[in-house]
């Protein structure tokens, strides 16, 4: 009995009793799994979007810097002979990232009406289909030979 008492009680209070907090009391700042980092990220997002969820000049500059850096990586990759065997997938990946960044943020497609995205993406799919068709024709029918 004493063992059970020791297990479930401490100084007369139950071990498993969750302390009640006042509902009016605000949650401590940064009390979540990623602590201060998540709070800082949120603050940065608020800064670059002027707190409106829309882009601000700082936001556009951030996108432009990323685009510039990706271009630098592309040119560097091209110059490194050891990485030449991965050139085609790497360039396709980098150009896709740049493409998405410009379309989503500079062209505002991320924030704009979904109808515009639907029109553009549909045409994009047709464009990629035409592109792929040429390549398939080239591969199987010797186009240009």
């Amino acid at each position: 009995m004493s063992i059970l008492k020791d297990l479930f009680h401490y100084n007369g209070n139950g071990w498993w009793r969750i302390p009640k907090t006042s509902e009016s009391k605000t949650n401590p700042q940064y009390e979540h799994p990623f602590g201060k980092f998540a709070g800082m990220s949120k603050d940065f997002w608020t800064f670059i979007t002027s707190g409106k969820g829309h882009a601000s000049p700082a936001y556009y500059w951030a996108i432009a810097i990323i685009l510039g850096l990706i271009t630098m990586i592309e040119v560097w990759w091209f110059d490194v002979d050891e990485l030449r065997y991965l050139l085609v997938p790497a360039m396709l990946f980098f150009s896709l990232v740049k493409f998405i960044l410009v379309v989503a943020f500079f062209m505002h497609l991320k924030f704009d009406n979904k109808l515009y995205s639907t029109i553009f993406v549909t045409c994009m799919v047709i464009g990629v289909f035409i592109f792929s068709l040429f390549l398939v024709l080239s591969a199987f029918h010797g186009l240009g030979n």
């Binding site: 000049p57 510039g68 360039m91 500079f106 924030f111 109808l115 549909t122 045409c123 592109f131 040429f134």
Partner: protein
């Protein structure tokens, strides 16, 4: 919904039953058609890649460092357009004009690089008639250059209107449409730079091809 419906999107008042700006919808439809247009030309270029049996070949002609600079200039011009639009919407006219002028200058620098590149190619014997690579390369890059030139003319026209006081935050949609077009030209170049330049630049003499000597 009736035709009297009014929707507010990005500060713009839209008075129609679709709830979206007709001008912007038309521009996106045009850009969609242009995607397919460029898709065919890029597809043709890739299909004929490494099929030229006589020179000059991509490894003899393409100059990546110079094209990288022009690519960077065009990317930064896209930043200029969004900043010009941002400041125009906030009625900061001086900054809007400044960025618009910078975009026009950057567009002209890009075209200058293209003119230099084309004249250099012609000088070493790479013309549209030279081989399959020349034909497909010049067709695609010239079409892109024509788009950039049209964009520059459009932006100059908008700048003139801004000086005249006809382009204000009220009708910022006009600059937004030109901006969409300009960004599109930019994304097409992103693809061209990767496929036509970076991936193709290492292509030398294909099997069965004749070696090429400069000035031949």
């Amino acid at each position: 919904m009736s035709n009297q419906d009014v929707t507010i999107q990005h500060g713009e008042e839209i008075k129609n039953s679709t709830g979206v700006s007709n001008k912007k919808l038309l521009m996106w439809a045009f850009l969609g058609s242009d995607v397919m247009f460029f898709g065919t030309f890029i597809g043709t270029f890739m299909a004929y890649r490494n099929k030229s049996l006589n020179g000059p070949y991509p490894s003899d002609t393409l100059d990546i460092p110079i094209t990288s600079i022009s690519t960077f200039v065009l990317l930064m011009s896209s930043l200029g357009v969004v900043l010009a639009l941002h400041y125009l919407k906030e009625s900061k006219m001086v900054l809007a004009k400044l960025w618009l002028i910078l975009v026009i200058i950057m567009g002209m620098i890009f075209m200058g690089f293209q003119v230099y590149e084309f004249s250099h190619f012609a000088h070493i014997g790479m013309t549209p008639q030279a081989n399959l690579f020349g034909s497909t390369f010049f067709t695609l890059t010239s079409l892109h250059g024509a788009h950039v030139s049209l964009g520059i003319i459009w932006l100059i026209f908008l700048l003139y209107n801004e000086y005249k006081g006809n382009l204000t935050s009220e009708n910022a949609i006009d600059l937004e449409l030109a901006g969409l077009y300009w960004h599109f030209v930019d994304i097409v170049w992103i693809i061209i730079f990767a496929l036509l330049y970076l991936i193709t630049a290492g292509d030398g003499v294909p099997p069965g091809g004749l070696p090429w000597i400069a000035g031949q």
